[in-house]
Amino acid sequence: MKTLTVNIVTPDGPVYDSEVDMIIAKTASGEIGILPGHIPTVAPLVIGAVKLKKAGKSEYVAVNGGFVEVRPEKVSILTQSAEVASDIDVARAKESMKRAEQRLQGKTDALDSSRAELSLKRAMNRINVYEGNI
């Protein structure tokens, strides 16, 4: 079966680099599944998990936005931060989830609450990826 190469790169260095059978990512306009031979595409990603299927098993990588560039044999995901499940600092994510929730409950201006919402989303995404419930 044909495979395609996936690269997940962040400013702090590559996070993931491997051959997989299929990629499922959440883009701004919905989920897309990418198989080998996909037409060249660029799409922005939302905060969420990227699912990488390899030989019947799947792996998850938490990405915080960014975008995906698809070529027939190669997929690059460029994002400002990404973690594979085993690298996630779950204690820190839980901590920041709590902080964000508190900030959302306190009445603040719109800018603050949208920031808190984003950080809540990121934290929940990390926790979900870590625990594998997606």
């Binding site: 400013p11 260095g13 660029v42 560039e69």
Partner: protein, 286 residues
Amino acid sequence: MASLRDIKGKITSTKKTSQITKAMQMVSASKLNRAEENAKAYVPYMTKIQEVVGAIATGTSDGAHPMLTSRPVKKTAYLVITADRGLAGAYNSNIIRAASNAIAERHSSKDEYVILAIGRMGRDFFSKRGSNVIGEVIGLPDQPAFSDIKEIARRAVGMFTDGTYDELYMYYNHFVSAISSEVTEKKVLPLTDLAVETGTTASYEFDPSAEAILEVLLPQYAESLIFGALLDGKASEHAMRMSAMKSATDNATDLIGNLTLVYNRARQAAITQEITEIVGGAAALD
């Protein structure tokens, strides 16, 4: 002439200083290695993002995205990347001089520009001179991660978008090699000089549209440029600190050599004098 004890004291203290500078040199050398690795890790991200930005920006005929178009300049922002500490030779003063010269040349009043400072030295310099420092990050680690400057990068790009200023320049030291670096001025925003590389530009499908992607991509690109400059600056900071400490150590070694010479001469003089006195005393007894 200084007494033997004085000279000895000077030698000891110079030796101790040179031990410290030597240690600092070695610390900087290892930090430089790490910084170079970080800069290397960042390269694939940057080349990729440049490629895609180039492909999209040239692919869309109406390059009307606000971050790509120059507008009349009412206010300019300068992002000055310095170190938090001194003892790095001319590292900080070079950057600060270049930035303040450019500002003095281009602007007649303090209302025409704002400063964003990364690093304590630059922040202190500009805030002491009454410039308008609207953003600052200090106390960055020696090996910064992107999350450390995400906040200021996002603000810098955001303030351009919402019209707080119409241009953003960056001042930092570009790392050339372990012994040389050069102060660089780079225009970050508007993104007028996109590296357009034809050849690899595959024609992409855009989902949902090229404009929507530019919306995400361009801020991310500009923020990465800032991070790249910071990594570059950090590498040259460590390199300059290393060579500053190396010359300090060399100077101390020279000084110790000279002092030892003086010390031996003084000791010899004292011995000669003692012998003369003894001989003189013995002669007086005869």
